[in-house]
Each structure stands twice: as structure tokens, then as C-alpha cells.
Amino acid sequence: MKMPVESCHVGEYNILEHTDLGEGWFRIDIDAPEIARETRAGQFVQVRVGPGDDPLIRRPFSVYDVGPEPGENATEIRLLIQKAGPGTEALSRLRKGESIRLMGPLGHPMPVPDLKSPAAMFLVGGGIGVAPLYLYCRERLKEGSTLPLKVMLGARRESLLIGHQGFQDLGIETYLATDDGSAGHQGNVIELLDQQLGSLSEGTQVAGIGCGPHGMNLALRDIAVERDLEFWISLENYMPCGFGACFGCVIAGPSDGPLRYRRVCVEGPCFPAKELPETF
């Protein structure tokens, strides 16, 4: 039988850099060679917020990037975090030279579909959902993949479109959407995706990965199901353990057969959109 988690490291690691990105976002670079080497895009780490009992449970964060480059030589992991409550608030105060308790890597890597040209591979990120997509791009570039990546990022306003420059620096086609039109398309990222899908030439093979707030994920699932697209959606359910022990992070599905709940942490966090229930 396949193990829920094959390999996972738990330890105390040194913070190499803390970068304040404004708007409540920050990045922490951590010296964690054994985690960095094994991490693939889409996987996450569980972070202990402090030694005390409040906050109690570890907080999950996608690995945003590994350094100096993905693969065997990686020695550090980088997290992109948005302040959301007491846990992320406390993490925002950690500084270079301090230590942080991590557990990882956890979850499955994001899928890398095999598409026949002409093709388009959409990476759709809303808000903090951008985090795992950057490492995905870095990995594809490193392995010389020919997947035609199109990154689409959405936020309320330009200043909240954090991380988009990174994709542009990698030379990846990047489309932006803001609710107030301060950058890119005025509207949401789903509309942007809709436009792009409409402009593809006949016969283009389409796939995509989406990662964003709940509303965006629901809309993405609907589009994928309606148009029969090969999309995956990365979920951010509340995760008490992150390694399959508590059954606290579940979603229902797939819909055929008797009601079954699957653990997002060990079976996901990325799921084929078609396997997700209408509301999740």
C-alpha cells in the first residue's frame, strides 16, 4: 500500500533573509537543505508559529521557491506569506538569524501534463495563490520543458499583485487583472482566462492549474467542468496536521459512488477540477 507521506523532515532551521514586501506580505528564506532538495512545486511545509500553545497548530505554506535552483542542489526554501491572523502576524516578526520550526515537504507536487502542440498551459493565481506557481515555472524552465506556460494573476489592486515581476523576469507570458483596473485587465482573473480561452486557435490542447481564494477556485472549477478542460485546482483547506493523521482537511468526492471524503493534505492539495464537488 502506498504511504500517505513518503519522506518528511521535522526540525529547526535558520532564517537567511526576511523581506517585507508591503501590504502585509513578506518573504522568508530559510536554510533547509534536506527539505529544499526534496520539494517539488505544489508541496507545502507546516510551520510551528512559536514554542507556546497559542497559536497551537502549525500553519501550512506552499513553498514559493527553492534556492539557488530547484533540484538536487537546492539548499534553501522560500516562503511568500500574507498576514491573515495571529500566526502569520507572528511569523512576520521573525528576522534573519532567528530560527523557525518546519516540517516538510508535504502533499503531492503539482502535475506536469504532457500536451501536444498547439497547446496552452494556464497557471491561474489569485492573491496569495501565486505562491506555488512560481516554483512550478522555475522547475519547468530548469528542465527545458516546452510547456507553453501562461501565467494569469488577479488581485484587488496593483499594489496587491505581489510576485508578478518574478514571472516576467523568467520570461514567462504573464497576464494581470485587478478589480479596480490599476494594472492589466479591469475585472477578475476568471474573465481574463475566459478571454484567453476564446482567442486560442481551433484544436489547441488546454490544461491549467489554479490556486486562489475560495471564490476563484469555485469559478475555475465551473469553467473547467463546463468546457471539459484539464484543470487542476490547488486547495487551501484548514490543516490541523498536514500529514494525513487527523482527517480534518477533507473534501467530498469524486462525485460518483458513495459519499467519500478525501484528505486534502495527503491526496492533494491539487485535485483535478472535475473531481471537485460543486461547492467545496
Binding site: 518528511c8 500553545d53 497551537l56 516540517m103 484548514y238 490541523p240 494525513g244 493523521a245 482527517f247 477533507v250
Partner: protein, 328 residues
Amino acid sequence: MKRESVESASVELSVRVPSPGGDLMLSHPVLPASGTFGYGEEFEPFLPPGTFSAIVPKSISVESRPGNPPPRAIETPSGLLNSIGLQNPGLDLFVSDYLPRLQRYGVPILVNVVGKNIEDYCTVVEALEGQELIRGYELNVSCPNVKEGLRFGLDPEATAALISAVREKTSGVLMAKLTPNVTDIAEHAVAAQSAGADAISLINTVRAMSVDWRQGRSRIGTDTGGLSGPAIRPIALRMVWEACQAVDIPVCAIGGISSAEHILEFVSVGASMVQVGTHLYREPTCLPEILRELQELLAKEGICHLDELRGTFGGLSDRLPERSRPVP
């Protein structure tokens, strides 16, 4: 009574749990709490699951259960509120797919059993009797997230009837897991002992809720759930103390335990064993460190065996004249 300290290696942590079929010997007092240890395999990346002195897997029922709708958990101050709803693969799949792996860990297995009625519990126990390393059962008569669990847990007579019926089916260790959601825990502990339980474990989660008033909704998928973690440790300590005064079978303490200090607090009020639950989610590798610390703390106080500490907490009421006893 300060004693000379001893070598920590000479501190003996073993625990004996007598049952009609013979004594169950545990190498130390720390077990995982059911539902927080999955089916063992989830912990393999972190430590050999057999580092625990016995394994208590997640509750098993005759039929497979899908569990409750999400969201199933939310953090509260120093606590975790859950409504998992006893999701489990059911007896048949447990025996074919999960048990062989649990048996590889080489330590005794105490299967946590849950059911809708007495027959259900008996069916599970009968099917598991004689299986290698299954040395007993923890009867979950107390889950707050499903209706039938509470019915057994809240009525001492129903609990006693259940234990007597299961007692007929096994001579292995029968441990009754009690709910804290009762007024008089001692009454329930006594009922379990009289009906033939070899041990009791407590506490299961405390019935609790978390509400988003703006949306007028519960923050979990059910209106109420079960609270675990450090927030409930003082409640557990009080209840374990009360139960230990009422029975003379071994008591297994559960509730917010995460360190050797906590374990010794529970032993001092009378516990023989403990289970670590919610803490395993944040520190799945914690056990070796806890055991080392346990030996060191005892050694420092010159205590060579846990038995010497067990029940040493006397309480004020024994020592004060009646009129000056505090109002409980």
C-alpha cells in the same frame, strides 16, 4: 519529602495492566490518543510507531463511515475544535488493509471500537479476537460528534451494559474511554469498573462550539464539536483525579498532554498511563524526547518507579478540618 537523586537510566517506566487473560506489560506509560495517530502509517516518516508502548488506532466501527461534512476543524484559544465524525474504513477493510501494517510495529495494539449499539461493539471485538498483537480494546463510549456515542457515554447504566456484554467476548484488556461531558465522572468510572472494565481512559473531547456571528454560522460543519488540546488539560486533570479516587483499576489520562511535566502531574493524581493526542499533530516526533525527560525528571527527584509517584497528590480536603474545606 525530597529524596536523593538517582541515575536516570535506573528509572523504571514500565506499566502493568491486569486483565482476565493475563497482564499487559507496557514498556512505558505513553500511548497515542485514538484519532490523532491515524492508523500508524501516517507516522512512519517521523518515528518508528512502535516507539509508543502500545498503538491505539483511530476508532473502528462495523460499517465504514464517511464522517461529517467539512469544515471539520478550527483552532480556538490553545485548543482545537473538531467534528471529524468517526470517519473510518469499517471492520473488514481495517482487518485486511490496516491491521497487517499495525502488526509490523511489534507493540501491543489496543483497538478503539465504536458502535451504534451493543451488538456492533461485540461484532468488532469478536472479529478481532486472537489477531496477533491485539491485546485489548478501548471502547469509545464518548464521542461527542455522533449521537450514539453520547448516549452510551452519558448514561452509566448503558455504559455498564455495554462493557458487560463485551466482557463476555474477550479476556484481553478492556479499557472504557469516558466522556468529560457529564456532571459526575466518578459515577461513570465506577460503573465501568463494576461492569468488568480493566482500565478506564479519559477524557475524550469536550463538547464545545465556535460561531461566526456575522454569518450566523458555526465555524465547523456541525453546530457543536469536540475540543482538544492544552485548553482542556485542567479539565482532564480534575476528572482524572476524581476518577482515580473512585476506582482501583488503572486510569489512562488524556487531554492536552505535551510534555513529561504534564504526564507527571497526571500520575501524581493517580493516572497509570497517558495518551498524547493533539500535540502529535504539531510535533509528531516528540515521543523520544518526552521519554528521556520523564526519566530525567523522576531521577532528579529520586523516584525510581512511576508507582512511587502515583496518587501522591492528596488534596486539601484530606488535610483540612471539615469546616475550613473549600467549597467545591
